[in-house]
């Protein structure tokens, strides 16, 4: 991570493509890592799709069997147990280097600087924060709100401590000087990308690029930005699950804003699902739980008419154990509905 930061300051504006690739790679790793941490030690590598089998195995045969199952590389990966640290806590390992959420003091030891979950990866010890505000980083796709209009730029609130000016040259339109208000008005939501953030945290954003646009229609919901990786899921698994069931068009900004467009009932369902993910972000096997939750909820909305995809999914998972869970799940969701 430090390497990338250095590159940014050294080269300035050039090779942005390369940088974005790196950033994407980094984020992917980060996400993967977070999952490892979450399941690490308890699930023993069970996140790789065979989770259900492992769980059943554990119930029937006991822990020792599972240990044998693990591949060597997975042991190395899952050694980190989920440990909550607070600022000032000593993170052992002097041979390790200080990663995010940590600092190295004069005594040469590494301490946590944030409230979060301790995580060791490669040579770095990190703290994955449990709270905190969104800090913009180059390459992030975010959902912003127009809060001010100038003659040649808009001021965009990106849910960060810093407002982001969007210059007319960074939009797909040809805007005359002083004509900005005709394109984007106050309160409009836009899907933009953070191009650069300098040392004094001045943010440059752009709306010209694939997929970047003004968001028309739909709903915006806000979650904590630290939960964004969970809403997206490993390789986009969670978000595509929600999209599949609700048939909504969705976009999750790195800043914790989520745009959902579709039929009203389905938007409502999608936002409830996301709320559930946010509240239960720590639950192991959340994707599977959400799968069941959504399939039940979709049935309620659409009556008996269930889509082929959903039916397929159901038959795959058919077992006595699961049917029981389905019933529990529906009980719960029914209650939730009454409450709301």
């Amino acid at each position: 991570m430090n390497e990338i930061d250095e590159k940014k300051t050294d080269k300035g504006g050039n090779s942005s493509g390369e940088r974005q690739d790196e950033r994407r790679e980094e984020r992917r790793e980060y996400r993967r890592d977070e999952r490892k941490d979450r399941y690490g030690g308890h699930m023993r590598g069970g996140y790789k799709g065979e989770r259900r089998e492992r769980v059943e195995k554990r119930e029937s045969e006991g822990r020792d069997e599972i240990r044998i199952d693990i591949k060597d590389e997975e042991i190395a990966d899952t050694e980190t147990v989920r440990e909550i640290v607070v600022p000032g806590d000593l993170l052992d390992g002097e041979e390790l280097r200080a990663g995010v959420g940590t600092y190295k003091d004069d005594d040469g030891k590494i301490y946590a600087s944030q409230l979060g979950i301790k995580n060791t990866r490669a040579n770095y010890v990190n703290v994955i924060p449990l709270a905190g505000r969104y800090m913009p980083r180059a390459g992030d796709s975010v959902i912003g709100k127009v809060v001010d209009i100038g003659p040649s730029n808009w001021l965009i609130d990106i849910n960060a401590p810093y407002p982001a000016p969007l210059h007319v040259s960074e939009t797909p339109w040809k805007v005359e000087f002083g004509d900005t208000g005709r394109y984007l008005g106050l309160g409009d939501m836009v899907l933009i990308r953070v191009v650069n953030v300098d040392e004094t945290k001045h943010v440059q954003v752009s709306m010209s690029g694939p997929g970047l646009r003004k968001l028309v229609g739909g709903h915006i919901i806000e979650i904590s930005h630290s939960k964004v990786p969970r809403v997206i899921g490993k390789g986009g698994s969670m978000i595509s699950l929600i999209k599949k069931y609700t048939k909504c068009r969705m976009f999750v900004g790195q800043n914790g804003r989520i745009w959902i467009d579709g039929e009203p009932e389905e938007i409502y369902l999608a936002s409830r699902a996301i709320e559930k993910i946010e509240n239960e972000a720590h639950v192991i096997g959340l994707t599977d739980a959400m799968d069941k939750y959504l399939s039940e909820e979709v049935k309620k909305i659409r009556g008996k008419v269930v889509t082929e995809e959903v039916e397929e999914k159901e038959s795959e998972e058919d077992s006595e154990n699961l049917v029981e869970e389905h019933e529990e799940e529906s009980d719960e969701s029914g209650r939730e509905e009454r409450e709301e």
Binding site: V55, Q114, R133, P161, A289
Partner: protein, 263 residues
């Protein structure tokens, strides 16, 4: 504060204090993190008869803009006593005392926050004293540093703080209202526990150098205990960490749900 004559026997024949504590005994402390939903971070502390609420906002854009520092975040603390926090109604609004306390607390907290990570922003801390019984600035700074950590703000360490003093010629830890009012001296300090750096220290009354050093030692060891309570409060917010299988989690949920329904 210092040395008002009184009929109250502050230290009895057995060497115990007005509330029955030994001279080196603290009042009971209870800390809870994340009590407010709208603030970025918050904490509530009950410390003997003190009840203090701390809320943190930010880092956010500093206003007015001339306050912004292009190199670091500014830390703005506001200490306020509710009009009903003391026996005789306190006139609401900032006064000389609360402005001073706000300043020393801001500076103490700024010394542990990594302010250079958030240039041009402000980190706002609000300390509301709901009920006062001596030592509210220490309770305030203790709660505020928990609230800062709860807000996810990067910092070197938490700051525990405690006040001790001299009452009827005896050195006592963590004074209460009576002792504070009729005592000879008081010495509030706040420290960075790991390095034992002092980030807040004030003194009222007269102490010899020996007495001062003794009180300092008492305070530092008491701070270490408070530090443990702070850490516990933060960790408690995110535990028990569910490690159950999905089935177990669902069953747990069901039980909780039933309890709710029964109520």
């Amino acid at each position: 504060m210092g040395g008002t004559p009184t009929d109250i026997k502050l230290i009895d024949e057995n060497g115990l204090r007005v509330d029955g504590r030994r001279p080196d005994e603290m009042r009971p402390i209870k800390i809870e993190a994340g009590v407010l939903k709208r603030a970025d971070g918050s904490a509530y502390i009950e410390w003997g008869g003190n009840k203090v609420l701390a809320a943190v906002y930010g880092p956010r854009e500093a206003h007015p803009r001339h306050l912004q520092n292009p190199a670091k975040a500014i830390v703005q603390c506001k200490y306020n006593m509710a009009s009903f926090s003391v026996g005789e109604r306190k006139k609401p609004g900032p006064d000389r005392r609360s402005i001073e306390i706000s300043k020393v607390i801001s500076e103490a907290l700024e010394s542990v926050i990594f302010v250079e990570q958030f240039p041009r922003t402000s980190i706002d801390i609000f300390i509301e004293v709901i009920q006062a019984n001596a030592g509210t600035r220490c309770a305030g700074i203790t709660a505020a540093s928990v609230a800062l950590a709860d807000a996810g703000i990067p910092m070197r360490d938490l700051i525990p703080a405690v006040a001790s003093g001299k009452v009827a010629g005896t050195l006592v830890l963590d004074m209460n209202k009576e002792e504070d009012n009729y005592g000879n001296a008081d010495l509030p300090i706040g420290i960075i526990p790991r390095t034992r750096e002092i980030v807040l220290m004030q003194m009222d009354g007269n102490l010899t150098i020996d007495e001062f050093n003794k009180l300092l030692d008492m305070n530092i060891s008491a701070c270490m205990k408070i530090y443990e309570l702070q850490k516990e409060a933060l960790k408690k917010k995110y535990s028990p960490v569910p490690v159950e299988t999905p089935t177990a989690v669902l069953e747990e949920k069901k039980k909780v749900g039933e309890e709710k329904d029964n109520q």
